[in-house]
C-alpha cells in the first residue's frame, strides 16, 4: 500500500540531497539502458569481422576504434554490457533469494540446523573463488551459465550469513515476542516482520555486490573461462586488447572504462542507499 511507495519516495528524496548518490544512480541507469538497448544503439554488428580495418584508432565510423579482427569496439562494449548485467542480475537475484531463505532458516530454526548450515556456508566460503571456478570449468567447459553458477554458489553463503546474523539479532526482540504472543506463526513472523527489517541492508548489500559480480564475470572471461569467444564480454575485450596493447590502447580503455563506471556507479548508489536507509541515521521524526 502506501508504505511501499513511501519507501521508494523516501529513497528518491534522500538521493536528491546526495549528489554523489545521484551521480551513481545516473551511471547505473545509463548503463542499464545502454545494455537493454544495445541492439538499437550499436552502430555495427559486434561480430562483424573486417580485417582490412583492424586495430584502428577512433574514427567517425568506429567511435572507439576496432580490435585485432576489425570488429567495432563500441558495439562489442555495448553487447558486453548485456552479458555483464545479465550475469549480475541473474546471479545476484538467485543467490539473494536462496541466501535469504537459508539464512532465515539458520537464524530462526533449531540450533542443529543452524550449525549444519553454517558449516556448509563456511565450507563453500573457504574455496578461493577463482580456483573453484577453474575446477568447475575444467569439469563442464567454459560457458556463461557456468560463470553464473559459480557466482551463485560462492555468493549464497555471503548473503545467508548476513541474513542469519540479522535474523538472530531480531529473533529475541520484544516485537517478535509480541507477535508470537499475539498468535503469529513462524512463517508470518519471518515474512511480515523479519523480512521488512532486513530488506534494507540486503538491498544495499546487493547493490554493492554488482561491481564484484561484474568484475568476477570479466575476470573469468579474461581468463577464457567465461563466455566463449565470438560473444563479446568486457573481460574478453580486455583480453583481446591486452595482446595488442603495443599496437592500440583503445580496446583496453574501452573494455576497462565500463568496469570502472559500474564499480563507481553501484558503489556510490549503494553507499547513498545505506545512508538513507540506515535506521540509526534516519531517526528524524523523534517523539511528538
Amino acid at each position: 500500500m502506501s508504505s511501499r511507495s513511501g519507501f521508494f519516495a523516501e529513497i528518491f528524496a534522500g538521493l536528491k540531497k546526495d549528489p554523489l548518490g545521484m551521480t551513481g544512480l545516473v551511471i547505473v541507469v545509463v548503463l542499464l539502458l545502454a545494455s537493454i538497448f544495445a541492439a538499437q544503439l550499436a552502430p555495427h554488428d559486434p561480430l562483424e569481422v573486417d580485417v582490412y580495418n583492424r586495430l584502428q584508432s577512433p574514427t567517425w565510423q568506429h567511435w572507439l576504434g576496432t580490435d585485432q579482427l576489425g570488429r567495432d569496439v563500441l558495439s562489442r562494449v555495448l553487447f558486453g554490457g548485456r552479458v555483464a548485467l545479465k550475469v549480475a542480475l541473474v546471479a545476484i537475484s538467485i543467490s539473494l533469494s536462496v541466501g535469504l531463505l537459508l539464512g532465515m532458516l539458520a537464524g530462526f530454526g533449531p540450533a542443529w540446523l543452524d550449525r549444519l548450515l553454517v558449516i556448509c556456508f563456511d565450507t563453500l566460503r573457504s574455496f578461493p573463488t577463482i580456483m573453484f571456478a577453474l575446477a568447475i570449468v575444467a569439469l563442464t567447459g567454459p560457458s556463461l551459465n557456468t560463470v553464473i553458477g559459480v557466482i551463485i554458489i560462492t555468493s549464497i553463503p555471503v548473503y545467508a550469513r548476513i541474513v542469519r546474523t540479522q535474523t538472530q539479532a531480531l529473533r529475541d526482540e520484544d516485537f517478535i515476542l509480541a507477535e508470537r504472543a499475539m498468535g503469529a506463526s513462524t512463517a508470518r513472523i519471518l515474512g511480515h516482520h523479519i523480512l521488512p527489517n532486513i530488506a534494507a541492508p540486503l538491498l544495499i548489500l546487493a547493490s554493492m555486490d554488482v561491481p564484484a559480480v561484474v568484475g568476477m564475470e570479466a575476470g573469468l572471461s579474461f581468463l577464457g573461462l567465461g563466455v566463449s569467444p565470438p560473444t563479446p564480454s568486457w573481460g574478453s575485450i580486455l583480453n583481446d586488447g591486452y595482446s595488442y596493447l603495443r599496437n592500440s590502447p583503445w580496446p583496453i580503455l574501452a573494455g576497462g572504462l565500463p568496469l570502472i563506471l559500474v564499480t563507481l556507479g553501484f558503489t556510490f548508489f549503494g553507499e547513498s542507499l545505506r545512508d538513507i536507509l540506515d535506521p540509526k541515521l534516519r531517526k528524524k521524526g523523534g517523539s511528538s
Binding site: A178, A181, M182, G183, R188, S287
Partner: protein, 320 residues
Amino acid sequence: MATPVLDIRDLSVDYQTDRGVLHALRHINLQIEAGRIVGIVGESGCGKSTLISTIIRLLAPNATIAAGAVHFKGRNLLDLDPDGMRALRGNEISMVFQDPMTSLNPVLSIGRQMTDIQYRDASSKAEKRARAIRLLERVGLPDPAEQLRRYPHHLSGGMRQRVAIAMALMTQPALLIADEPTTALDATLEVQIIERLKQLQRDFGCAILFISHHLGVIAELCDEVVVMYAGELVESGSTRDVFLSPRHPYTRKLLECDPARIQKASRNLPVIAGKLPDLVDLPRGCVFRERCDLAVDVCTREQPRLDNGDHRAACHVSGR
C-alpha cells in the same frame, strides 16, 4: 460462582540450569473470573514472568511444566497442541508488553501493523482499517486516521503503549495479560494509561491479569491482588483487604517499602533485608523465613500452606 476465565491449579514450573533444577514456580493456584482485574505483585525473580509465559505457553526451551493445569474457559492450555494454542493467542488471550519502545516493529507503519494483526479476519482491508481507527480512538490517541500512516519512531512512549493496547484489544479477547505496561512510562502517563485501561475493561468486559511491582498502580486498578514471593503465591485477596490488612509478613514489608507511603523526608529508602532464597537449593520450611521478623520454630520445619477463604495467606504465624 461462575466458572473462572482462567483457572490455574497447582502449577509448578522448573528450569534446567547448569547448577541443577531451578524451581521457578511452585504449586500456584490462581483463579480469574470473567471481567475482573487481577494484579500480581512481587519483586524481580519471584516468577511473575514465568507465570505469564506459562499461560501463553511461550516458555524458554529449558523450562518444563512439572505439575498442574492452566484451564482457560474450561480447556487445559497445557494439553493443547502448538496450533491450537496459537489460535488462542492474540485472539482470546492477548498481551501488552512492558516496553512500548521495543514492542512495535520499527520498520512497519502503525496502520500496516494494525491491519496485519487482523489476518484471521476475512473482512476487507477498508474494514480492517476502520476497525483500527475505532480502536485507536478508544485508547485515546488523537487523530487516529493520521496515526495509521506514521511509524513507531514518530510516536512517544505513551502513544506507542496506547497503540499496543489497541492492538491487544482488537480481537476482543476474554483475557488481557498486561506485563508491567506502565513501568517504562512516566508518572502522569501512567495514570492516564491506567484510567484508560479501567475504562476499556468496562467497555470490553475482558478479564485483565496485570503484572506490576508498582503498588500504587495495583491499588488503583485491580479488583484482586496476588502477592508472589520466590515462586510461591504467598497472599491473595481483594485489593482492599490485602492493602488495608495485609496478612503475610512479606506483603506488609512490601507495603512499607512503597515510596508513596513514606511520610518523612529521608535519604534512605526502606528495604527488605536479605535476599531471595536459592531456587535451585530451596530451604526447608517457609521460603520467606530468612527475611522474616516473626519467624518461629515451626517456620524452619514446615512449609506453610495457603489457608482458605476470600483473603488467603501462607504463613504459620500471622493472622491466625
